[in-house]
Subunit: 482 residues, 2 copies
Amino acid sequence: MAADNKLVSEITARDVDFAQWYTDVVKKAELIGYTSVKGCMVFKPAGYAIWENIKAELDRRFKETGVQNVYLPMFIPEGLLQKETDHVEGFAPEVAWVTHGGGEQLQERMCVRPTSETLFCDLYQKVIQSYRDLPKLYNQWCSVVRWEKTTRPFLRSREFLWQEGHTAHATAEEAEERTVLMLNLYADFLEDVLAIPVIRGRKTDKEKFAGAESTYTIEALMHDGKALQSGTSHNFGDGFAKAFGIQYTDKDNKLKYVHQTSWGMTTRLIGAVIMVHGDDSGLVLPPKIAPTQCVVIPIRQKAEGVLDKADEIAARLREAGIRVSVDADPAKSPGWKFAEQEMRGFPLRVEIGPKDIEKGECVIVRRDTREKISVRIDDVASCAAKLLETIHKDMFERAKKFRAEHTYEAATYEEFKTIADTKPGFIRAFWCGDEACENKIKEDTTCTSRCMPFGEPETPEDAVCICCGKKARKLVCWGKAY
Amino acid sequence: MAADNKLVSEITARDVDFAQWYTDVVKKAELIGYTSVKGCMVFKPAGYAIWENIKAELDRRFKETGVQNVYLPMFIPEGLLQKETDHVEGFAPEVAWVTHGGGEQLQERMCVRPTSETLFCDLYQKVIQSYRDLPKLYNQWCSVVRWEKTTRPFLRSREFLWQEGHTAHATAEEAEERTVLMLNLYADFLEDVLAIPVIRGRKTDKEKFAGAESTYTIEALMHDGKALQSGTSHNFGDGFAKAFGIQYTDKDNKLKYVHQTSWGMTTRLIGAVIMVHGDDSGLVLPPKIAPTQCVVIPIRQKAEGVLDKADEIAARLREAGIRVSVDADPAKSPGWKFAEQEMRGFPLRVEIGPKDIEKGECVIVRRDTREKISVRIDDVASCAAKLLETIHKDMFERAKKFRAEHTYEAATYEEFKTIADTKPGFIRAFWCGDEACENKIKEDTTCTSRCMPFGEPETPEDAVCICCGKKARKLVCWGKAY
């Protein structure tokens, strides 16, 4: 059976070298491939299918809140990119420029969109005239390009897939409401669908988006104790509207600027799924987005009736709405198939052989706990459906427990530095509000302010900044981040 | 009621100026918008929703044949693009070049993909080793860029959305089988879903895809008598495999080249829908891809119970799986709403007012024929569902009849030129197989060979080329094309 374990033995142990483990899993589970295009990656079928499931469920949730999908050009003329000062400063250094088209040099070079605020503003300026045209709740699914120097699959690449929502509202209140609504939609999605607990909060001015008045974020903790910013929602106020002249005639017949938001999630969510749930045997996929939720593996498949029974079980599962496949490849041993199911992170496998059939039973094995459950074939569908729910809940609870065990409170700067040095995870500590302290903390510890979490009690009168000792304004969740 | 018709009166009559009619419809139905990016267009919600429905149904059909979705980079390094000679000659003149990224000049410039054969070959070269790795049946949904000089919404723009399937097979037979399978899938999709009849056939060598051994096509006839190439499927043989070194070890332990195909459909399908089915009042959407299949319009909506009844009808329709909306905007008259429903091409509208409610009835109006049908409210859902099926069938039959009435046979070149000059439509005529004749016909008439249709009887011994009079090899369907 040595060969059966080869697949798994080729993965670096997670606690030995997390970065190498991650790369191994991404490759061995065939999520990613490479071509000759430096810094860009290929989404192979197993990787893209996860994104398709994420996209379908997110899209459904967007539309429930009235969002409409659109598609805007992938090019932004240089002049358009430069209209909002903070925004261009944030993005210009990392864009890719198209200078020639159709055999001729362009009169004005264009960048490949790193994000599309400027294009949406250009459109909104043309289509919004009256209060009756508001709100506009547009979203697009597309790829964007940022010329990163160092890249990692899903986490940082020169091109990635995402959605970007861009809305325009009559009032500041409505824009703020939408910003928070989308942040909560993102948070609920990670928790309810990806089984990843998140901290919801607000970014400091230093960490907010280029051009935003305020940026809200959800932060998740990876297994190595590093934070991953998993989704952001920005309130632009009327800054972009003023730069682009987006005005509407209100009911009182006065010309007013719109208030705007934007919000986005990317394929880095797949990285989060891998780094929160994966283990030494490979991927562990949350049931709700697993492209295959259950694989049926016949044992002694040449024996009479085994393949038929495997197909029958698959049909029962399919009928119950479970995404199922049968692995009847005669060239692979059952042991190899077990290892492959674990590597690819399918939440369940069903083992069915001649002995099981005699008893009218089969064995269901959970990917997350490896628990084996014997079940009557008649009950296999209801049992599997229940198990998928249980697995989701258990995965979420385990991740929550892990985060609780890796979240620390620091009372002094010395303590902060010791924790940052020795205990990977989140550090909760008060902050005066001064960017200089953020910079010093980053320099001393490589920790950055992840967010000012929502729902914290009011900052006590006597609380002091962890760094400078002056009066504290906010509790901040700090961490080392991807 | 004059204002009610303003919406429609702003459309140019279809038979007065077809091109202007098309542009008017595209704008007034809010399918397309413009930004400051020259030659590129914005898919507004109404336009993008049609594409989403096309995509969902096509994607489902692809997957039924074993196709898997992937995503490859949008950039192609110049060296990679140049590997296959015919291919690079076909595309190099119309690509957009990225020359700078991250503030620096690139060592090798990259084009934004005009199509991704070269990237798929680069990937296949890396992942295919053995016959066990075959076939590979990959597809991607993405946008591509071709630097067109003159552009028209949906039909020709510098960036458009499409899917591109790329497959690799062990044998030439398998590749040919897949090429034909996808062509037929496309044809069935147009006929069964878009209600557009198509001619299935093979392209002449002059018209085939750059790098292909053979190209199959589906050709549809627009209302102005011009042809629209609506989908193509290419058999590459082993040409790309040899250029890129894509080899596998077969069962007999010999190293062999794979055989490849590619096939694609684009957002120009939306243009086809408009130009085949639309009329002087605007869009007429095929029921199966209409984002809204039925709009419920209350009459005297302030009267007691009218809005409630409209909502009740909408709920009944929704329950029957019909995509429905209620237009209860108090600022618009019913007449305006009728005109808007017609403009936007929703297949059905339901009118419901106090008098209808008294009788327990409502009125259903077909978009395609404007027929009004009184129906018991209890029966509204089943009646609407049946009507949607009938509308699809009737739209298809009308388009088929139109095509039959605009398809001509030419026996002499004089006759051919007269038809080409005076009767818009397809011309069926024999051809010797010589490219010189294709060129002469194009020069004399602007007609191009659309395809050599499938399923024609064998070319008679005495048939002669319509152009040169030499022995004919094939029947060709000629036409002026978009």
